[in-house]
Structures are given as C-alpha cells and as structure tokens.
Symmetry: C2
Subunit: 408 residues, 2 copies
C-alpha cells in the first residue's frame, strides 16, 4: 500500500476503449489498497486538431489563447477517465491544473511550475477517491490558464509526485521499459530493471525518446522515483532512481544512438585566439544548436574545426560557415550527413578505467573508422559513418555483455 502517481500519455488514452483499459489498470491498483493520482494527456490527435483550428486563424496564434485552447484536450480526457472509473464502481474526481491548483509562472505555452497546492488531492485520497488531474497545464498567479509545452504531462506527474511525497511516479507509455539499446537494431537488447537519473538523462538526450528530459531532471532534483511501464501489457518496467548501482553491476547500462545529426568541418583556419568564437558565434546567433565540437591543431599554424548540428539545420549552418570561412581566410568548408553518433552510457565508468579503450578496440576489430570522439563522466560518444550503425551497436552490446543480466 502506498501513494502512486500514474501518468498516461496521448496514445494510452487515444480511444474510449483505451481509456476504459486505463480505468481497469487504475482500479486494480486502487483495489489493492494504493492511493492513486492519475495524470492524463489529451487523446492522441486532439492537440493536432486544436492546433490546426488555431492555424487557420493566426499564423502564430497568440500564446495566452493557445493555452486556453490546448488545455481543453486534457480536460476532455480526465472527465472521460473519471466516468470510466465510476462505471467500474470506483469513486473518482477530475481536476484541471487551475483547479488543483498547479501554480506556474506566466510564460504561456512553456510555463514552469512554481508550486502545487496538495490539500484538495490529499483530502480526496483520504476519502478513498481516485484523483484524475489534467497534465500539461496550470494557472498563473492572476488565474490565467498556462501550459507547460508539448510533453509537459510528464512534468506534471513528477511535480505532483514530489508535492504529494508519492512512493513512485509511474509513466505509462507504449514501451515496457528502458532497454540496453534499441531492440529494432539489436534483437538481444534487454530491458533494464533500473537505471540512474544521470544515465537516463544521457540515454534520453541521445535519442531514446521515452521521457521528456525536463521531467527526468525534475525527478532527479526532487528525488522522485520514476518508473517507466507499458500501458498495454503487464510488467514492472524500469525504475529510474537516484541509487548508485552496486559495484558488481554492469560497467555500462546502455547504448544510445542518434541519426539526426550532420557534421561540418572548416579547415585551414588561422590558429589565432578567438577563432572558435568567430566560427561558432554566428551559428549560435542563428539559434542553431551545436552538439559535438572538436578542434585539431594542424602543423602549419592553422587549425581544423569540426562540429555537429541537427540535420534540419545543416543548410543554414553551412551558409553561415562558408561566409565565416571567407572572412577568416580559411581553406575550405565540408559537410557530411551520412553520420551517426553512437554512445555508451553508464555510471560504472566513473569507477572503472579502460572502458573507452575497450570501446575503441571493438571498433578497431570491426574496421569501423571513428570520425569524432566526445566524452563525459558517464558517457562516451563517437561519430561514425552511418552505414556502420547496426554493426557498431551489436558489437558493443555483445562486448559489454549487455544481453546478460548483471551479476547480483
């Protein structure tokens, strides 16, 4: 028996039948003696429908009214879920973000939660009532409706779990947990029983799109135990916690990859102070996000400079870089879209040397040329030719024994 916050995304509540399935899942937990708060997203497709209506009227809809519009999506879901719960014989009540109240700043369409009033929810839970809360939304100090931005329902769930001191926050999604890598690339990929927040952040930001990064950061900050589970099947999912793994645990937890990046190289840059700023400044000014950056000093007092951006930004970045190249008197600008970034992630790296060299050994054995390397405390990323993606992921997965349960 405990207090749990369950969050169901748009796909999990996409039809009346799915809402009824969610109701059965919630009722089972409630019958078991748990206190349950459910956070719901808009039914899948609804947000796009509403956004489409707004787009017919304003090219860039005014943010305050966009929030008023979009917040209706979760409100529809929460009332239908309560009806389904009541139909099953449960006591259930729904609340909008403003009703709870979830107080945010006034940054419409991307508001941040300032505080949550937990009294109404606790009163209901004590009375045996299941509380259903609209995700993604709140109310500013003046009573205006705000939204937390796309995917913000995860953030709502984590913030509620923190405010209510819940035992765990369950994020129900269409996958049954976090895997050592993408099972479509490596069929031996294994579901992790647990993963640390830091590892999850590295996995998520590298392309494993299960959870919103912000909600994971939030969960880490407030020490909320997050669990990722499937809406559509049974199972314990993956627990994301602050706990350090036991020393016996695997060296690395998973392999992430990202196929959305492109590489730009500028060669023959005069090696003078400020060159890096002169090259990257204009890219940043154009709101293009830069991921990996590498600078090599060449032999003749010039330097080469390589960095990666999202593929969608490649054309714009190339135009800027070409103009910079001319003003700096550099030699050339080259680009490459056919790359992939592969990363191994694990807190075990901290206490174990030799992981990078083992990774590079795998690549050497398979004759995979490494184009760029970047490391952090718990992650090593390399950029390679995209044609080697599957080979690299499978070789690493085997070399680090990720298909085997870690020793206890």
């Amino acid at each position: 028996m405990g207090l749990f916050v369950y969050k169901f995304g748009g796909t999990s509540v996409g039809t009346v039948e799915r809402i009824q399935a969610v109701a059965h899942k919630v009722k089972a937990a409630h019958d078991n003696g748990d206190q349950i708060v459910v956070v719901v997203s808009a039914m899948s497709g609804e947000t796009n429908r509403l956004t489409g209506l707004a787009a017919e009227i304003q090219k860039t809809p005014v943010a305050r009214e966009m929030d008023v519009l979009l917040s209706t999506g979760e409100q529809v879901t929460m009332s239908l879920l309560c009806m389904a719960l009541i139909e099953l014989g449960c006591s259930a009540k729904s609340y909008t973000g403003g009703q709870v109240r979830i107080v945010t700043d006034n940054s419409h369409t991307k508001a941040r939660i300032k505080r949550i009033d937990d009294k109404k929810i606790h009163d209901n839970l004590k009375a045996g009532t299941i509380v259903v809360v609209a995700g993604f939304q709140g109310m500013d100090e003046e009573g205006n409706i705000t939204t937390l931005g796309r995917g913000g329902s995860d953030t709502t769930a984590v913030a509620l779990a923190a405010a209510l001191k819940a035992d765990e926050c369950h994020i129900y999604t269409d996958v049954d947990g976090v895997y050592t890598t993408d099972p479509r690339v490596e069929p031996n990929a294994r579901r992790l029983d647990s993963i640390t927040f830091e590892e999850m952040l590295e996995m998520a930001s590298l392309g494993t799109k299960i959870l919103q990064i912000r909600s994971v950061e939030f969960a880490g900050k407030y020490n909320v135990a997050l669990r990722v589970l499937s809406s559509f099947s049974e199972g314990r999912g993956t627990l994301i916690t602050y706990e350090e793994p036991a020393v016996e645990q695997a060296l690395i937890s998973g392999i992430a990859f990202n196929k959305d990046e492109a590489k730009l190289t500028i060669t023959g840059v005069p090696d003078i102070p400020g060159a890096a700023f002169k090259i990257l400044g204009p890219i940043a000014d154009a709101n293009i996000e830069i991921d990996m950056i590498i600078q090599n000093v060449a032999d003749d007092a010039t330097t080469d400079f390589t960095f990666t951006v999202h593929r969608n930004d490649l054309a714009a970045a190339k135009a800027i870089l070409t103009s910079t190249s001319e003003s700096l008197g550099a030699k050339s600008v080259t680009t490459d879209e056919k790359i992939v970034k592969v990363s191994i992630v694990g807190v075990g790296m901290r206490s174990h040397a030799g992981i990078a060299s083992k990774m590079f050994e795998v690549f050497a054995d398979e004759n995979i040329n490494i184009q760029m390397i970047s490391t952090s405390e718990i992650k090593i990323s390399v950029v390679i030719d995209e044609k080697y993606l599957e080979l690299a992921v499978r070789s690493l997965h085997a070399a680090f024994d990720l298909d085997k349960e870690p020793a206890q």
Copy 2:
C-alpha cells in the same frame, strides 16, 4: 457609445470562417466606441461529439464529469474568437465561467447562477480590451465546474448584462428577429421592432424557439433590454423590453402555434369531488407534463374531462388514463393526435375587450371547429384539427392586421 453583451450561438461560431465573421462584427462595434463583452457557445456539433464520447462510457454519465467535459466546448470557441479578434488588430481576452468568476449552485448539468464578479471584465473593458466569456458554464463555491444546461449561453449573456449594467444584451441567432408568426406558414409575417417580455414568454413557450425561456425570464426580472438579431445579416432585430407598448399599438403582437401536442378525453366520469385529482394525479406522477385542461359538466351527474400532453407522452398517458377510467367507472377514453394549438398573444388584450370574440369570429367564418379554449391575461389559445393550421394562422394574421406596421 455604450456597454453591450453580444451572445453568439453554436451555428454562428460553427466554423473558423463564421468565427472570423463574428470577429468582424464585434470589431465594427468596438471601433464605433462601444465596450463589448462576447458570450459564445460551443461550435455546432461539438456538444454532440462530446456527449457521444461520454455515452460510449456511461449510459447516464455522472453529472460532475459531464460538466467538466461539456465546458471544454465553449472554451475552444472563446480562444479561437480571441485569436480572430487579435488577428484583426483588436485587444481581446477570453475567460471561462470559473475564471470570471460566475458562481453557481452545485446542481451539475443544470446549475443556477448565484452571483458574478464583474471586476475582471470591467478592468479589461476600461483598458479597451474586448472580453470573450464562455457561455453555459460557471463554478460552484468549491471550485467545481458546473453547466447551466443546454442553451444556457443565453442565460450567461443575460446574467452578465445584468451584472455589468449593460445597455443592451444582443442575442445573435440564425433568424433576424421575432416575427408576428412563422413566415413558413404565413409569408406576410412581419418582423416586430419590439415585443414585451411577457409576450415573448408566451410566444417562446408556445413554440417560437428563438430564445431560452429561462433567459427571457431572467432578462425580465433584472430589466435587461434583450435584442434578437441575425449573425448572418445586418438589421436592428427585435428588442424585447419591459416597456408597455403605446396604446396605439396593435392589439396582438403575434400568432404562435404548437404541433407537438396530443389530446386525451375521458367521458362519463362520475361528477364527485376529487375526480380531477384522481385523473391527473397519476399522469403527473409519471412525469408527464400536461398543458391545457378542460372539464365540462354533462347532464346526467357525470362529467367529461379533456387535456393535452406532448405527443411523445401520448402512449404512456393513454395507458394510465385507461387504468384510471376502469377504477373510476368512467365510460370511455379517446385520444387525438391530429390537433394543433394556435394562440394569439399580446399585452394589448389587457385593455381591449372583444379580442377573443374576434378570434372566434374568424374561425367561424372559415368553418374551423374549435375543440378546446384556454386563456390567460395576454394570450388566447385554441385547439383545432391540424389540417386547419395554415388557414387559421393566415386568417388571424390578416384579421388582426399583423402584416401592417402598427400606427405610431
């Protein structure tokens, strides 16, 4: 220059194009220097879509959650209308019933307004902002979302007009005003420039379904000047006021009719005290609404009893009456669906005798047999064979000079 509350129903805001047309209408008034509060309904079809979703889950959806669900309909409209107004260069802000706040009792799906906080609206109006309010909804003292029931947007508009001391409350609909009778029956029907609240109540309850009766009662009670206009064309519409018409005005204002009733007669009822109660009590107990009632004393210490009910209730009423007939030892029960009720309405009746006899003279001239008669202070209703409907309405329309403008 004045303060006006405009109300637009579901058909008037049924598409993005119509919402944009409404925005143009509102902007024109605002540019003219008027302060405008707009009350909107859900886009036509939306309430049925939401009701359909709920019906898939619960046969009788729980009222609290039904209100949460249905209230999203107006919220969508109000945000889209604000976007359209802002796109035209106006300042505009939307508010839900709860945000205003419109405080109601806690009778979900049929709540009554208790009070309205006008501060937020007045502040916005003073700042030159057009205020758009969701119709049909409010919030109870505990902050639960409530709705006023179908068509309740009219009530919201009238209540806001009363609270804000508006100069007029404009109800925009798909007709351009109140007519002397249904133009589909009498092509010479004429739009009335004005009509009194009492006349409007009699017209409305007799089948002229332009306004919710409750909103008219409300407008009368708080002395709010109501004007019925078309969303789709220009024109002054019809003003519904408390003012007594000038003595020169027409004797009657309009002719209403109702084709939805059926007649039941029980004959040979022993003429003892309590017979009426014994006959009508069981009908009322079955929640069947009775409209006209007539009792004639017959010659042989028995009486005949005739009343009308909605046609949908005829079968149920007949079964009850047959059972009553047996227990009372009455002679027979007969029913007739092929009837129509035709009424003339006008405050002029109060000060002018002879109107009833003129009505009956018209019927006599046309050989129309009158089956039942019922009168009130400002209305005379008769039940006739439904095949005479057009003949009766047109003859009365001509006899009372309704096709001519009243003398000033």
